[in-house]
């Protein structure tokens, strides 16, 4: 069976179920790299130019770990996923950067996704991607439809039950309510963790941020746990037309959780991220207007776990004290 490698990084967290369905329906097998670990982290780090941002370096590490385990590597070049809303340059350059930096990588499948070019163009791209596996156009069409359904089911699963992508993908179907961390839900701190999916769900990169917060007694919500439409509405209040596809996850989610009167907002960004450098300011601005505690964690490959934990503890203590005073 043909094996398609999917690096567990970047767009993986948002689209893996769709990709898996698509390739499996076409009779291929998907191979996913293991969760980020030290070896992946440092091998990716050693290949890329120093200025490259952390998640992209990690991505190369995942590609390296998969290189000898698959026949194709699936690295879509994502230009745009919404009308006039773009992805970062690095997503577009990913397939070519991988080719340059990971020469041992098998043949790369690099469909260019640009929804600005319309539906027809997307269909054409899906056909040419599918044609690597079958010449039956009907089969490709069916696989694409099923992938689309898998994607909406995946999103629904997260937003309806408040689970993270990792939990859904791994099939851990426990929703927050019965996780038994703290039975008294009303007294729990509600903290929103905002940022790109590939940072907030990569436990190696963010030093297990979410589970640490939960251990400190907080109820964590992420952009994926809210309904897409609600985030869109919140975002449109602040920016009439988004320039980046990530705005909904940062500005939209920030505004949404601020309006939902969360006790604290933690924005997780990586050093050198272009879109973040422009967007985070807006969330901070709004948080000040709402009077909600706001913490910006900027991660890079040197972030030490100790420093991060201290800052988290201080933030959570502050939020707790504040809540006690307010109530």
């Amino acid at each position: 069976m043909v094996k398609v490698g999917i690096p567990r990084a970047l767009a993986y967290y948002q689209y893996y179920p769709a990709w898996k369905t698509f390739f499996e329906k076409l009779g291929a097998e998907t191979v996913v790299s293991p969760p980020t670990n030290r070896a992946i982290f440092s091998s990716g780090n050693s290949r890329a130019v120093a200025e490259t941002c952390l998640p992209v370096k990690v991505f190369f590490g995942h590609v390296i770990s998969l290189a000898d385990k698959c026949d194709y590597m699936f690295i879509p070049a994502i230009r745009s996923l919404g009308r006039k809303a773009y992805h970062c340059s690095k997503f577009l350059g990913l397939p070519d950067m991988t080719k340059a930096l990971v020469p041992e990588c098998p043949a790369i499948l690099d469909p260019e996704i640009d929804l600005n070019k319309g539906r027809r163009n997307l269909e054409k791209i899906i056909y040419s991607l599918g044609s690597h596996f079958t010449s039956d156009k009907g089969k490709i069409k069916k696989a694409a439809e099923e992938a689309r359904e898998a994607n909406s089911a995946y999103r629904r699963e997260m937003s309806d039950r408040g689970t993270t992508p990792v939990q859904v993908i791994d099939g851990i179907c426990q929703s927050k309510e019965n996780s038994g961390l703290d039975s008294d839900v009303s007294s729990q701190l509600k903290i929103a963790v905002i940022g790109h999916a590939y940072i907030i769900y990569d436990d190696y990169v963010n030093h297990r941020l979410i589970s640490r917060l939960e251990a400190m007694g907080a109820r964590v919500s992420t952009p994926e746990m809210a309904h897409q439409e609600a985030l869109d509405i919140a975002m449109t209040k602040l920016v009439s037309k988004p320039h980046w596809s990530f705005e909904v996850d940062v500005i939209g989610a920030g505004e949404y959780y601020l309006e939902a009167k969360f006790d604290g907002i933690i924005t997780v960004a990586v050093f050198g991220c272009g879109p973040d450098s422009m967007m985070v300011g807006k969330v901070r601005h709004r948080a000040r207007e709402f009077g909600t505690p706001f913490l910006l964690l900027s991660l890079d490959e040197h972030t030490s776990e100790g420093g991060l934990v201290t800052r988290l503890e201080a933030f959570v203590d502050m939020v707790k004290r504040r809540k006690r005073v307010c109530v």
Partner: protein, 363 residues
């Protein structure tokens, strides 16, 4: 309406010329002081820490324009992948927080460039009749073309002049003279005179200077403050600089030839194809392509300029090192932490390396 503009190389000269020609009426064009350390300090102070250098410098310019009483600001806007699309939106917020109640007029530099600039000119001049607008625009552009033409000669002379600094002196005078010229005829005459003067500068006839191509992100390439006068410093080291990118070229193609379907970067993109298949925003694709082209054309080396954390240029930088066409590339990242002595040391080392390579190859 008092319209302020950010600086971008010498672009203020043609803009000033257009405004003066059209006699803006109640409207006034405010050109902030040339980009200086103060501009940078202001920009850095009020920008998000991780914003790129062009963002910080243009914000500094705009603040300085506001201090001079601007109530409207003209700025570039891009649709596409790089941060440029966000500049105006974000900077407007910052200026408002600082208490300047300003309005932004943006020029789309990705699509409909000509229409968008003409609209702005019309707005600024209370709807002056089209023939006047076009003729003033033409006059402004003649200055831009004259400046770039002189600069090309300066690049050559600077590398081989016997008395270092002569060409720069002439260039500085030329900028002033062209800025002050009031008619098309005067611009042409001044250009001719300056080029003559440059051609008469005593040079070393036997010199075979090292040739270096300059590529990278357009703002830091064309704004000498941002790149710490890198071209001049290379000239001092006896290096002949060639840069494809220039404002006049941009104007020529965006306004005249692109609409006719002629793409100035076609060859460069074709050269980049085996390594980078698509536009990645900004000037990343062009940087990769130009490396290949420069290597084929027998350049000794290439300097790649990029603002620190520039996304498209990081893509280019990651790819450039592995092209089959081999030519030394020095990537210089520009940000507010950059210091001139450090940069000069790097340039000296780079130029030494290029000379050594030449010697080894027996040139």
């Amino acid at each position: 309406m008092r319209v302020g503009i950010p600086h971008f190389g010498l672009v203020y000269i043609p803009i000033k010329a257009i405004a003066r020609k059209l006699g803006a009426g109640d409207n006034e064009l405010i050109i902030p002081p040339l980009t200086s350390q103060r501009t940078l300090d202001l920009g850095v102070k009020y920008s998000p820490a991780e914003a790129c250098l062009p963002y910080k410098l243009t914000l500094g310019n705009l603040i300085e324009a506001c201090e001079l009483g601007a109530d409207t600001l003209a700025h570039a806007r891009g649709t596409g992948i790089c941060r440029l699309g966000y500049y105006a939106k974000n900077q407007e917020q910052i200026l408002q927080d600082l208490g300047y109640n300003v309005r932004f007029l943006t020029i789309d530099v990705s699509h409909h460039k000509f229409r968008s600039i003409m609209r702005l000119v019309k707005d600024m001049t209370n709807n002056a009749p089209w023939p006047e607008v076009i003729s003033a625009f033409y006059f402004g552009m003649s200055k831009l073309f004259a400046l770039d033409k002189i600069e090309k000669v300066v690049h050559k002379v600077r590398a081989i002049e016997l008395d270092k600094g002569t060409a720069n002196q002439i260039y500085r005078e030329a900028i002033k003279a062209i800025d002050e010229a009031t008619t098309g005829k005067e611009v042409r005459r001044t250009t001719g005179e300056c080029i003559d003067k440059l051609n008469r500068v005593p040079i070393d006839p036997t010199a075979n200077p090292v040739k270096v191509g300059i590529v990278g992100e357009i703002y830091v390439v064309l704004e000498p403050f941002a790149n710490m006068d890198i071209e001049m410093e290379l000239g001092k080291l006896g290096v002949e600089v060639k840069r494809t990118m220039s404002l006049s070229r941009w104007v020529k193609y965006s306004f005249v030839l692109n609409p006719l379907g002629i793409d100035e970067w076609k060859e460069v993109h074709k050269a980049a194809m085996p390594y980078l298949k698509r536009d990645v925003g900004g000037d990343g694709w062009e940087s990769v392509g130009e490396k290949v082209v420069h290597a084929r054309e027998g350049y000794d080396g290439m300097i790649h300029l990029a603002p620190f954390t520039c996304m498209p240029e990081i893509v280019a930088q990651n790819i450039m090192s592995s092209t089959k066409e081999d030519i030394p590339v020095l990537t210089v990242l520009c940000d507010e932490q950059m210091a001139k002595p450090g940069m000069i040391t790097r340039l000296e080392a780079f130029v030494d390396l290029l000379r050594f390579r030449r010697k080894r190859r027996g040139i």
